[in-house]
């Protein structure tokens, strides 16, 4: 790069001031493009796309060939490709499916950083010495990941992928890039995914490698926000090399801290070298349980306290953690250890979210696999491996939090102190066949609301996503969406191709009773209707009494309402293998008339979801 000589001395000083590492460390990055769709189990030949907030965040090659583009709206995607399968995004699923890859790579080189599902970075020096060169490591990684995914995904989708053969169907692309510095390595990995061969940048070659690249890469990798990149573009800085040629002081004066950060990356330097040293012991926080804990929620709660502790301690000295190691140990001595990286720093909520992902992935390991969890968790440890000075950069990510997001975040904190942690909750999809089961309310303090807000911000900015390219090209901006969504938290995630056979189709009831309301359904003679074990109704329902009173004092009949229309029974026999949670019931939809209730006659009829269970009738939800 021509500008390197001019800018060189300044960099040297800056770098040595910072860390003493004049020579940036070499990294290898593994990148699985469109990971959410791979995690959902779709092969490249099936047209499918993963949506978040009604926007496509990942799609298969078949869908891309039909013109489905990342950032597109649901309707547009359906218009381009009518037979497309649309799946809601589920970050937990991404993390869970990625666990196999992480484990495979960890076998080869244990110190790796998971940046998000589908994206791993590790220091290459050690493995490279062992395996005989960067090229060899890269090729090995491609083979390793391909093998893992081919096997894993092929097995997973065995039902639908049928006889075509797993290897033929699963044409999974993997990008592996080696370069000086995390940023250059990540760019190299993404280029490698497009080209289909590993990209290895020679030592010292990162500046020259970065120089001709478009400035948008900064945004793609989440290192600069959309506004800054847009500003660079408007000022005529279209390539990273052009930015790198500018004087550090000028950049600081005009663009501030984030500008300097961007320039440093553009020049092929990595501000934060990875460390393979053990962190000072006082930074670790550990919680041992006297009684091993079997519920993941309880572990997450403890992790929340630990994360708050870590974040507060770091904040007290003006720092933020960029790389966090999370360790679990069970009573039987099984261990799970992962290192999580986020270039802009992990807030306490982001730490907790990563704990949740890791725990979830571990608990859902297939039976009999190595390191499988067989007992309650006895130890949780958080180790902030890498810390940097907190420059407040995390606020500006993905175009920034909106004012509404910040206000809501503050209000949630206030509401939590007013009530309790368990009283302030956000919905997380969990699946089920009854309305009350399908979503779970998780304490808001254990979810990375910043992350949710950021991603929401992406979806809410129309100008931001409309600039994505067409066809199969994945423009830098388009990839931001992939990444933005991939870094996700527990969210609304409802699978469009319902994984819950037997659940009722939409519309779903808008009012779901926390406690079912007892009723008595009668036929035209006033005799209670019975549902047999084989799902046969003794008589056609004609009316429903509301039941008042209680089990102790006995039930008495309240007012009677006529049944105008009904359908069912749809029997449900779930968890028959677990005696404690076994439920056997029959569901009905009924429209109840308003007769005899003159005052409210104008409201018309009421549609309700009724279940018959243990010879009793309940209204469990209302189509309100």
């Amino acid at each position: 790069m021509s500008g390197s000589s001019a800018a060189g001395p300044a960099e040297g000083i800056e770098l040595s001031e910072r860390s003493g590492a004049v020579e940036p460390e070499r990294f290898v990055t593994v990148w699985c493009p469109d990971w959410p769709i791979v995690a959902a189990g779709y092969g490249s030949d099936q047209p499918a796309a993963v949506l978040r907030s009604h926007r496509v965040v990942a799609r298969t090659e078949a869908a891309a060939a039909d013109g489905v583009v990342i950032g597109q709206r649901r309707r547009q995607a359906q218009a381009r490709c009518p037979q497309i399968e649309l799946i809601e995004h589920d970050p937990t699923r991404d993390a869970r499916e990625f666990e196999g890859v992480v484990r495979a790579v960890a076998d080869m080189a244990p110190r790796l950083d998971v940046i998000e599902p589908g994206w791993i970075t590790l220091a290459v020096r050690g493995p490279s010495r062992y395996f005989g060169g960067d090229e060899a490591v890269a090729r090995r990684l491609v083979a390793l990941v391909g093998e893992t995914l081919g096997g894993q995904v092929g097995v997973e989708a065995g039902g639908e992928a049928d006889a075509a053969g797993a290897s033929a169907v699963r044409d999974i692309r993997v990008g592996v890039g080696v370069a000086d510095g995390r940023f250059a390595a990540s760019v190299a990995a993404r280029l490698s995914a497009r080209r289909g061969v590993p990209v290895v940048v020679e030592p010292g070659g990162s500046p020259a490698f970065c120089a001709p690249l478009a400035i948008g890469w900064l945004q793609t990798l989440g290192e600069a926000d959309a506004d800054l990149v847009d500003l660079f573009t408007r000022l005529g800085l279209r390539r990273l090399g052009q930015l790198a040629e500018l004087d550090d002081a000028d950049v600081l004066g005009r663009f501030g801290r984030s500008g300097v950060h961007a320039r440093r990356l553009a020049a092929g330097f990595d501000e934060r070298p990875a460390t393979t040293d053990d962190p000072p012991p006082e930074r670790r926080v550990t919680k041992m349980f006297d009684d091993p804990v079997a519920q993941s929620e309880a572990v997450v709660f403890v992790a929340k306290q630990l994360a708050d502790d870590v974040a507060a301690r770091l904040a007290a000295v003006g720092s933020v953690c960029t790389r966090l190691v999370v360790q679990f140990e069970t009573e039987h001595g099984e261990r799970s250890e992962r290192s999580w990286y986020r270039s802009t720093g992990l807030t306490s909520a982001a730490m907790v979210e990563r704990v949740r992902w890791q725990l979830d992935a571990w608990m859902r390991l297939p039976k009999g696999s190595e390191g499988e969890i067989t007992a309650g968790v006895a130890l949780v440890r958080l180790i902030p491996e890498e810390i940097i000075a907190d420059q407040g950069v995390q606020l500006g990510l993905w175009g920034g939090q909106s004012d509404a997001d910040r206000r809501a975040g503050a209000a949630i904190a206030r509401l939590t102190t007013l009530t309790s942690e368990r009283a302030v909750t956000v919905p997380v999809w969990q699946g089920g066949r009854l309305p009350a089961e399908r979503y779970r309310w998780v304490p808001a303090t254990t979810v990375d609301l910043d992350g949710r807000a950021e991603r929401a911000g992406v979806a809410a900015l129309p100008g931001f996503v409309s600039v994505t390219g067409t066809g199969s090209s994945t423009g830098p901006r388009a990839s931001v969406l992939t990444r933005a969504s991939g870094s996700g938290g527990a969210d609304e995630s409802e699978l469009a191709n319902a994984p819950w056979p037997g659940s009722l189709p939409p519309p779903s009831p808008a009012t779901v009773y926390a406690e079912p309301v007892p009723i008595e359904v009668v036929d035209e003679h006033g005799v209670m209707v019975q549902v047999s074990g084989r799902g046969v109704v003794s008589a056609s329902p004609a009316g429903a009494y509301r039941l008042l009173g209680g089990a102790s004092e006995g039930w008495r009949r309240g007012s009677l309402r006529s049944v105008r229309a009904w359908a069912g029974p749809w029997p449900l026999d779930q968890r028959w293998w677990e005696p404690a949670r076994h439920r056997r019931l029959a569901r009905f939809q009924m429209v109840l008339g308003r007769d005899g209730d003159q005052e409210r006659d104008e409201d018309g009829d009421q549609a309700v979801l009724v279940v018959a269970e243990h010879r009793r009738w309940w209204v469990i939800a209302r189509y309100d």
Binding site: A408, L415, R438, A453, P506, T511, A567, M590, Y623
Partner: protein, 278 residues
């Protein structure tokens, strides 16, 4: 349309000269500065096209209390919030423990900006048909609700709530007036929107929406609910002309599509006499 607080702020901004001028001049100046209709537009949250006939301002006016009742009231409340939440507004669901998340998701509400808060006070069912009347709440729980609502109004653009049982009795209503008035003032000041589902009790409602529904797809022992026709009507002290609209909700995949129906009923509802009044 005058917002008391804004007037006060404007008065503070006035130069000494204008302060010296007569009261009429001040008022004239104030009315000029406050009058532009763009003020009202700025204070709007977007609302779905199919519901637009209900809101003559073209959206939900910030600072107002909306009441949603009738069969389909909760669905209308969710549909009202939908566009604003998609556009980036946050919604708090306070004490509506019956909130059907899946229904909200099917309507297109962006769930990542929905937060539920339980004051632990009422657990009341937002049901005007009083399926259950669990009236275990006390004045203390009412105060908790006010406290939580005040905090929620501070941080969320939309607050969906059900009025605790204690504020629904005449006795409670008398005691609540002061607290409710300060909540309403805070709502105005912060520019949030409150949507009350179910019985409203002592809470003063600016725009009340009454819904009624008919369902299709269900027979006698066969079928499944697949389409729903919803009729909504607004009245209230901030809505001098009652408006109504009819929409249909059709299941499309895992979503519900909201479509406006050509509304013959609206003509009848507003009626010629009201037109004359305009």
């Amino acid at each position: 349309m005058f917002d008391t607080l804004e007037v006060v702020e404007l008065a503070a901004d006035l130069t000494p000269e204008s302060l010296r001028s007569t009261l009429d001049d001040v008022l004239a100046e104030l009315s000029e500065r406050v009058a532009p209709t763009s003020m009202a537009r700025e204070r709007l949250l977007p609302v779905h096209d199919s519901l637009r006939p209900l809101f003559p301002d073209g959206g939900l006016v910030r600072g107002r209390v909306h009441g949603c009742a009738g069969s389909g009231g909760t669905t209308v409340a969710m549909a009202m919030a939908r566009d604003a939440v998609v556009a980036g507004a946050w919604m708090a669901v306070v004490d509506v423990d019956t909130f059907g998340v899946e229904a909200a998701s099917e309507l297109g509400v962006a769930l990542e900006r929905v937060v539920r808060v339980d004051t632990g006070s009422s657990g009341c069912v937002p049901s005007d048909d009083d399926v259950v009347d669990r009236d275990g709440s006390t004045a203390d729980s009412g105060r908790r609700w006010l406290e939580v609502m005040a905090a929620a109004v501070d941080g969320f653009d939309i607050v969906l709530t059900a009025v605790p049982a204690v504020w629904r009795t005449p006795e409670g209503a008398r005691r609540a007036t002061a607290g409710l008035r300060s909540l309403a003032a805070r709502l105005q000041q912060r520019g949030s929107i409150m949507i009350v589902v179910g019985p409203t009790g002592a809470v003063p409602i600016d725009v009340s929406v009454r819904a009624s529904s008919t369902w299709e797809g269900l027979g006698h022992g066969h079928g499944v609910i697949s389409r729903r026709q919803l009729r909504a009507q607004t009245t209230g002290r901030r809505q001098p002309n009652p408006a109504s609209c009819e929409l249909e909700l059709i299941a499309a995949g895992q979503r519900l599509e909201l479509r406006a129906l050509p509304d013959a009923g609206a003509e009848r509802a507003t009626g010629p006499d009201l037109r004359l009044a305009v």
